[in-house]
Structures are given as C-alpha cells and as structure tokens.
Symmetry: D2
Subunit: 344 residues, 4 copies
C-alpha cells in the first residue's frame, strides 16, 4: 500500500512513521509540511535519522500525492482535512483524518464547537474507533479517527452505557493528558519551566472533545447524553488517564458491571481489562496501542468509577489510525501494532 502523510512534522505524524516503519504492507509515498518544505524530515526530528530521510513537500502537490497514494493520513489542524476530503472526492484515495473534521455525524455540532463552517457536509464518514465501528470502517472512504480523550473515555464507559447499567445524566469524566496532546507549536505556556513540576486543568466545561464523547455514548444508549468532561495537563509528554464516574441504576450489582466489560471486550486485542479493583497506569501502555481499563463499584455512594489509560499518540492518534487502516485494507488489525509497552 502506498500511503502519504499530510502534516508529517507534528507529533502524530512522526508517531505514524514510527509505527509504519514496522508495517510490512506499507510504503511511504509523500510527506508534507508547510513550515519545513524542502527539508528532510530527519532534519526536523533527529530520532528519524537513517530511518526516514525523505524530503518534505508542500500540500500544494495534493493531486500528485493523491495519485500516488492508496491512503492518506491527515495530521493537520481542524479545518484543513475537509478541504482535502472535498478535493479528493472523485479519487480512489481513501482518507484517515486524525483531526476533528470528520468525527461528527451532525456537522452542526462540529460547527458550533469548532467555530468554523464545514465545507464538506454531505458525505459519508465513519467515526474511527474500531471497537465500536469496525464494520463501517472496512469500506469507508473517509474515516474520522477518534480523538485522544474520547478514545479513552468512550472505551471506559461504552459497556455500561450500552447495557443500560448507569444513569447517563450522572456521567463525569475527569481526564489527564501528557503535554504532547497540545502539539508542537511554540507557546510560552508549554515551555518546560512552565509545565514541569506543575499540574492544572484547562477547557473546563468547554473542551471540544465533549460533544465527541457525547455523540458516541448517545448513540450507544439511544438517547441524548450530556456530561461533564474536564481535561488536565500532566507534567509529562505522553499518556492519558481518564477517570469516569456515574451512578449505577437501581439493582445493578458489581458482577453485572464486570460482565458488561467482559462481554463487550472479550475479543478485543487492544483492550486489556484489569478487572474490578485494579487500576491502569499510563506507563503500562506507553508506546503501545493498548487501552487498559479497570473499575470499582462504590457501595457507599452507588457509583461506578472506571479508569482507562492509553498512550495519547498511539491508541489516541497514530496507532488507532493504523488500526483503522488495517481494518480498511483487510489486513490483520494488529499488523505493525505489536509493540510491547516501553517500561520503565
């Protein structure tokens, strides 16, 4: 398969390269970057030296890129992918967008939260979270790769929502992410002296990943879910831990909770259920495509607490994209994704 990456010099872009390097079915056609056109990618990222020394081109060459590519991974800020999607409408090239442009079934929601007009509304797109949408991904032309926080949060809550074990109106998601999630642009607030040995929340009651989580949980439960989602910034580079709370519906036992997880995820390779009373850590999944999940039932309060951990750049971005790509191509879903987490 010939694949190209638009926006290859972001963290998701180079993580894709790390993963694809061990994918036996993939050749890299083109890599784009507007800020570093004409340079080798290994000039920007020294860790790629001798592995990928390809010269970066501009996205202006999109036609040439599309002609040479079976698949295009888009790692651009929101607003750009829909332009690419529209431009390639009549080509055979398939698209996996790691941004938000194609994540929403209802583009009005996208427009409301992202404050931009969607220019490619009436086209089929699939929400790129394999554990919930595997069938549709197989034949999709455009896949809107699930966001990082949503991946961790939806996977944590899906079994309980789907089995109607919790009251969806009581869902609270308190999530924490490493700073690579903020991307690579130069901002004073993300300088090491500012973030190191520091911890804070941001986007309280207003983060754009909220409607994405609500869309998927609403779809699972069959009614409109409104929830609280609070992201925080960890003083580290990679990893997301999502701590989710909800009231159990009357009569729901801890065993029923256990069953819900075991049933939904029994055959999911990338989901590791730690069980009730065991809790995930970000380091246990670092560098891998796993999502580790543990939970507890609090009899005092009648709540269930579900914790999930992913590497935001792998299962939360590039790894998930490759998982979706594998499904879309008919490859074994694990191809190129058999990395053991890196510990310590």
């Amino acid at each position: 398969m010939q694949v190209s990456i638009l926006g290859a010099t972001g963290y998701a872009g180079v993580e894709l390269l790390r993963i694809l390097h061990n994918h036996p079915e993939v050749d890299i056609a083109y890599l784009t970057s507007e800020g570093s056109t004409g340079k080798k990618i290994s000039d920007i990222y020294g860790h790629l030296r001798g592995i990928y020394d390809q010269v970066l081109i501009s996205i202006d060459n999109i036609e040439k890129i599309a002609a040479a590519s079976d698949f295009i991974f888009i790692c651009l800020p929101h607003g750009h992918a829909m332009q690419v999607g529209k431009a390639l409408e009549n080509t055979k090239t398939r698209i996996i967008d790691l941004g938000a442009d194609y994540r929403f079934a209802d583009t009005a929601t996208y427009e409301e939260w992202y404050k931009v007009k969607h220019i490619h509304k009436n086209t089929a797109r699939v929400y790129g979270l394999a554990e919930l949408h595997r069938q549709e991904i197989k034949t999709a032309k455009i896949i809107g790769n699930a966001g990082c926080y949503p991946t961790a949060s939806i996977l944590a809550l899906a079994p309980l929502v789907k089995q109607h074990l919790i009251d969806p109106s009581t869902i609270i998601i308190d999530a924490k992410s490493g700073a690579s999630g903020a991307g690579r642009s130069a901002v004073v607030a993300n300088q090491l002296p500012e973030l190191y040995d520091n911890f804070k929340a941001y986007g309280v009651a207003s983060h754009r990943h909220t409607p994405e989580i609500e869309q998927e949980l609403s779809s699972l439960v069959g009614k409109n879910v409104i929830l609280n989602f609070t992201p925080h910034l960890l003083p580290m580079a990679r990893g997301i831990l999502s701590t989710c709370y909800a009231k159990l519906l009357p009569g729901v036992t801890a065993e029923k909770v256990d069953d819900a997880f075991n049933q939904l995820y029994a055959s999911e390779f990338f989901i590791r259920l730690l069980g009730r009373g065991a809790y995930p850590t970000t380091k246990n999944v670092r560098g891998s495509n796993y999502c580790d999940i543990g939970w507890q039932v609090d009899k005092r309060t009648g709540r269930v607490i579900v914790l999930s951990a992913i590497d935001n750049l792998v299962k939360g971005a590039a790894g998930q994209a490759v998982q979706n790509f594998n499904i879309a191509c008919g490859f074994d879903e694990k191809t190129g994704l058999s990395m053991t987490p890196m510990y310590p």
Copy 2:
C-alpha cells in the same frame, strides 16, 4: 516559644524546619527520629546543613521533651500521636498532630477506616483547619492538623455546602497529588523509574481521607454527606490539585456561587480566589501556604466544578500546622508564612 518535632526526618518534619527557620518567635527544643537517633538532621538532609545541625534523639525522651516544649508537632504515622497525647494529658504542653489520630470527632469513624483502636477517645480535640475552626484552635490543647487532600477539598466545597447551593449527595472529588504525600520510606512502587513519566489512581473508593472530608462537609451542611473521593499520583514531588463536582440546587445562579466564595473567604489571607473561569495550578502555590481556588458553572449539565491547589507539604501539612500554631499562640496568623510561591 520552645517547640519540638516528633518524627523530624519525614518530609513534613523538615518542611516544618524550613518554615520555622523564619519564624521570629520559635526556638527548636528537640527533634526526634527513631531510625537516625544520634545523627545530625543535616546528615540525613543535606539541604539543612549549616541551618539545622541538631542531633536527633529518641522519642523515648518524651518527658524531657515535653518539659522543655511549649508546643510539640507530631509528624509520626497514625497510631503514635494518641499515645503521646495520652502521656502528656496532665502537662501544659500543647500538641499539633500532623497525622490522623485527632482529626475525628467520632473516634469510631477513625477506628473503622484506620483499623486501629483509639486509645485516647474522651479528650477534646480540634480539627486543625483554621478557615473553619479558628475560634476553637485558639485555646485547644490538642489540634488534629487537617490532612492534605481534605484541606484542598474541604476549602473548595465549603462555601457551596455551607450556603446550601449544591446537592451534597452529588459531590465527586477527583484529586491529584505529588509523590511526597506518600512519605519517605523505601518502596519499589515509589522509585523514580516507576513513578516518573507515569500517572495512576490509587485507593479508589477506599482512601482514608474520605471520612475526614465527609465529617467537615456534613458539619457545615447539617446532615450526613457521603461522597466519592479518588486520589491520583502525579509524577512530581509536591502539590495537590483537587477537582470537585456537584449538582447545583434548582435556581442557583453562577452569581450566587461567586458570592458564596467571596463571602466565606473575603478576609482569609491564605485563600486566593481566582474567580469563575480561572483555574489554579500547583506551581503557583508551590512552597507557600496559599490555597488557590477557581470555579466554573456548567449550564449544560447544571453542575459546578471547583478546582483548588495547595502545596501538600505546606498548606497541606507543615504550613497549616504553623498557621494553627500561630493562632493557638495568639501570634499574627501569617508569622513565618509570608513565603512567595517559588516559580518556575
């Protein structure tokens, strides 16, 4: 004032020394340590070299220590302070226990959560959180210094609970702490390679600070509060951020929420209200006795989210102890506590 510290070689003990060094009214009488008796404290902690080179003695000398001390700060694991308290019952020496032994009005709660028998039940004690118990602290013989997580969490929620603006049965506290909170003993799980670049929850639905928070909030609202408290371990040494959620009662506006904070804390020096829509960071209070508080009202869900940040070793331990000590002695509450936070 002559003061002594029992268990001076823990992190809270040496933080007390750091603070007391700039307290004009304090002389250190004795420092105890069972593991390092006979050594200088600066042999254990090089940062104290030339500042405190006092020799550590054993707690076996408690009578001599008490005779020489107006105040004793106890920085020992729970279960020890009540023995000291009992032994000094008929002395004039006053006690501030940084552990849990004297935090509970109902010692049955203590016994249930700490799994030890309380041997000093029928004695007066005050919960050492000045913002809520200033009057009682003034004359207390025994002060049970508030815990680190409880300090951050109670201060965040007290105005809303006291003014009956939230439904107490909906309270969820998602808290995160630096690793110094786990103390200084050698444990594989706390080695740097294990905790660094890592994040995890622990004590889910079972942490001992839960009943302490519930005691204070119950007392404020006038009925029994049961809540969820989930602690997490940050990959850093100091700092607690507490993210608190609750449903607003019908008709409660954002302005009423603002008013509640402004009223309760208007004259509190150590509480800095950032206001609605502004959020605290742990680094902004590092090394200081401040508790920074910000909040948001989410109209979509009808919840209020309150965030508070403290330095767990200062306002969460040693600084709070000195604040209580100042009140108990009739000194200006800020004496020795005018440190500007250390940033970056």
Copy 3:
C-alpha cells in the same frame, strides 16, 4: 531603599520579587515590561497574585524610574543594559545588571563573544561575585552580576587556582543547568515534550560564559587561562551542577586541596563546603542562595574533581543580585536571603 526592575517579567525578574518580598529595607518603585505594558505582573504570573499586583510600565519611562529609584536591577537581554547605564551616567541611581553587558573588564572580549558593539566602554564596573569582589562592590555604581554557570564554576575552582595547586591549562568544566536558564520566550526546542525525559549538550566549545570564567580565573592566577566549558540542559526547571576537572601540580596533596577550600571560604555564609568525598545536589540548594561544593582527588590520574551546585535563579541570578545589593547598601549581606532550600 527604592528599587526598580527593568524586564520584570522574565524568570530572573520574578525571582527578584520573590526574594525582595522578604527584604525589610526594600520598596519596589517600578517594574517594566515591553510585552505586557499596562498589565499587572500578577496577570502574567499567577503565583504573585495578592503579593505583587503592580502595573507594568515601559522602559521608555527610564528617567522617571531612575529619579524614583536608588537601585535599578536590569533583567534584560544583553545589549540593553549598556544603554541604560549610559543614560543614567550622571544620576545617583546605581545599577545591578543581571545580563552580560558589564561583566567584562575588557569590552573587546565582550564584543567578540556577544557580536555587538559596546557603547559604554570607558566606565567603571565591578564583576558581581561577592566572594571575590566584595570590597569593590561596596562602592560600585555599576555591578555586572556574575552569570549563572560562571558563578558555580568560578567558585568551584577559585581556591585551587588562587593557591596555584592546579595546572590552569588542564581545566575542563562540564556543567548542567535546568531549563529556566534559557529564559521564558516561546521556542519549539524548549517545549516540555521536547526537553522532558531528555538530556543534551549545547554551545559546545562556543558558549558565551567561557570568557567570563576565564577572566576571573586568569585574574586569580595572574596569567591567561584558556579552558573548556560545556553546558548541558537538564530536564528540570532550576539548578546548576558544575563538574570541574584539573591536573594537580606536582606535590600537591589532598590535604592541601582541602586547605585551599577551607581557607578561602571559611567565613563565606553562602558557600557550604561538603568536603572531600561528599558531593552536592541541586535540590539541596533549590530556592536558596547557597553554593554547595564538594571535591575528590583521584590518585590514579592526578586530577582533582570539584563539584558545585547552585540554584541558577538564586545564587546564579536574583539571589546574587540581592547579595550584591546588600553589600553595596551596607546592609547585612544575608538580608532577605535567609531562605532554607526547599526539599523535596
């Protein structure tokens, strides 16, 4: 004393404020910032809220500032202080420049390494390292505060150079600094994901602190010293450790080495000698004005290895500036500088 800070919103500027807050003889007259004129400094740095809420003005007001200030601390990039110095030539206002403009006795050296023309050459200036230049500082109009790396390195080597115990041509200084040394401007290379969990050298054989170290050591030994200085960037915010190597001259014993340190620094409050075989750590001096020094003599190679640790923002910048200020004002040198290091 009325003091003003030019460039108050850099890390050295706010560290000055942290220290001066506890200085009984100081009032802040003006704070300048070109990027944030009109804002409160506590809007830029939340840790200062309620402590310093002063409005920032532009350096364009330099005449008004000078008229109101006994002392001006300059925390601007090199090239600016000499303009201020020249403009205030005929005023009574004294200057402590935390940059490089006034560190060199020979301005040709400055011009060669800093690639700018010096516009204020023929004026008296003192190298602001109190342990070596205390007398001259007392009456100086312009003090060129010693650089961070030079402070750690010069203090480590001064006793051996002064006593002619080492061959100066064999000096190698391998130094490591936290990232706050790079300042606060937004640079991709200093974003947390780039620096965190990472370590690297920079400025190899070309760093501008080299001639500053050479100037002082040359002056001590009475001949021209040329040496190697290699800075590295630690994945943390504060702290410098300098590891210095040199060949002992024939016949120099370990005891003579010990004596040299003890003699030169016997009455220096801010220098803590750990002795032979004991080594400093950056955390043991964090937040304080101490310079901790330890050393070893390697009989196998005939070399002495000296290690020194400072907080780059305190003894390496703001603390040293206040120490110089105290000397210049005739105050006790320790005034405002009695902070115990913050550990852990």
Copy 4:
C-alpha cells in the same frame, strides 16, 4: 532458538522481553526470579499483561533451564553469573551475561574493583560490544555484555584512540544516566521525591565502569590507559549521555577527527554519526538500539569533545545483548532491533 532469562524481573530483564517479543527466531523457555517465584511476570509488570504471562521459576532449576535453552541471558547482580557459567561449563548452552562477571580479560581487575573472588577465571569470554568484537562474538560460549556507561564511552572514543589522534592520558569522561541504571530495588535515595527535579554525581573517581572502559581503550591503543570517569544521575528513567574530552596530538586536524569516525563506523548500522558540530540527545535514541555520536574540535584549547547518547536499557543492556545474540546465532544483526526511537 530457545532462550531463558535469569533475573527476569529487573529492568534489563523486562526490556529483553520487550525486544524479544518482536524477534521471529526466539521462543522464551524459562524466566527466573527469586523474589517472585510462582507469580506471573505480568503480575509484577502490568505492561506485559497479555504479552508475557509466564510463571516465574527459581534459578534452583538451572539444570532444567539449561537443558531447554540454546541461550541464557543473565540479568543478575555481579557474582551470580560466574556461578552459572561454571555450572554450565560442560553444556552446549551459551551465555550472555548482562552483568560484570565476564567483562574482564584480567579477572584480577574484576576482583580489585568488585571486591569479590572470581570463581570462573580460566575460561574464554568475549567482551560483548559488537562494534569492536564482532568476530569473537560469533563463536563465543560466554559473552560478557558491555556495561551501559562503557558502551556509550568506548564507542565515543574508540576511533580517536585507535587512530592515535588523542593523548590517552588526557581522557576525561563526564557521563549522565537515567535512574533505571540503578535497578529496581527499594532505596530511599531513589524514591521519586529524592531524585525528581534533582541532579547529582556519584561514584566520583571510583565507579566500577572505569576499568571496563580502560580495558577496551588500552587494547585499542596498545598501551595502558588511565582516565577519569564521573557518572551523574539524571532525573529521568532512561538514557545515557557521555561527554568525553581529550587533547588532540600535535598536528591532528578536525578533518582527521572526522575521518576517524567515518572510517570506523561506516558500516555500523547502530551507530549514527551526527558529524562535527552536531550533538546527540537521549530522547533521539530512546527505546532503540542506536548510539548517536557527535563531536567538536576546540581550536582554542586543542581538545576534542565527543558526545554519545544511548538508551541505557537498550544499547546499554538488553538491545546490545540481542545484537550479540544475533551475531552469535548467525542471524542478521538487526533482527528484532528495528525499533524507531520513541519521540517525544
């Protein structure tokens, strides 16, 4: 190939498992641990869950283990491997020891620095650094895998020493390592609050890796080399950076230095030469088997400065062991080692 790991629950042991998981020619026969016998390795290390759930056995089963294993990797503290080596003398099982027991050609040196008697002196062993000893590794029965610091330091200096471009008596190696190098046992000094945001030297003029480096450089230059080696502890988990200094011999130009590196390493896959004036970072090699090398010639002092970076657990331990294993088995040297470094 059947391979077993003795001491599988150390950091080197689990890193071997991470690497071998992607090695197509390897089956794991047995894993030993004395502290966790009977447990699954994934009970100790959650990141291995679902990947390696094998039960740990005791080394008491060494005969059974040897009978089932073509190769045994030994990840035990020094002193143990020589017992295993002796016990397996008459078997066909080959050994790669990741400890120090078989690194020294002259066991007297081992006994002097490690303070233990060597019980397996008169047996052939190869120093396991492929770039220097590839031929001998091919047929070796016992391979003493090169140490972490020595790997980085020897590779940095080998070209210059071998080509007689530097004066070996002037070599100084200032090395810095992440804390995983200290292993996994519980020690107060290695707790996160102690090491985090901290930096220090240790083992000054006395570290056991000194004679190992000297052995290899002496062998290359053909005379006895004595040097200074100073290790430091970085506040991070993985990675070594070695900064090496030496005087160039008269007439040696920068170009000759460049040539030496290019010649010796032209066909070495795992050595990436960054060239003169470019410097390695630990993150650029993290998780990979690369050793990145850059250098500078300082005309002012006549010294060359060489910097090398490795991941101490990969090229400094497990990766190097697999590289040696591949050579010894006749496999492609890169088998299982094609991991792209993990960045950021």
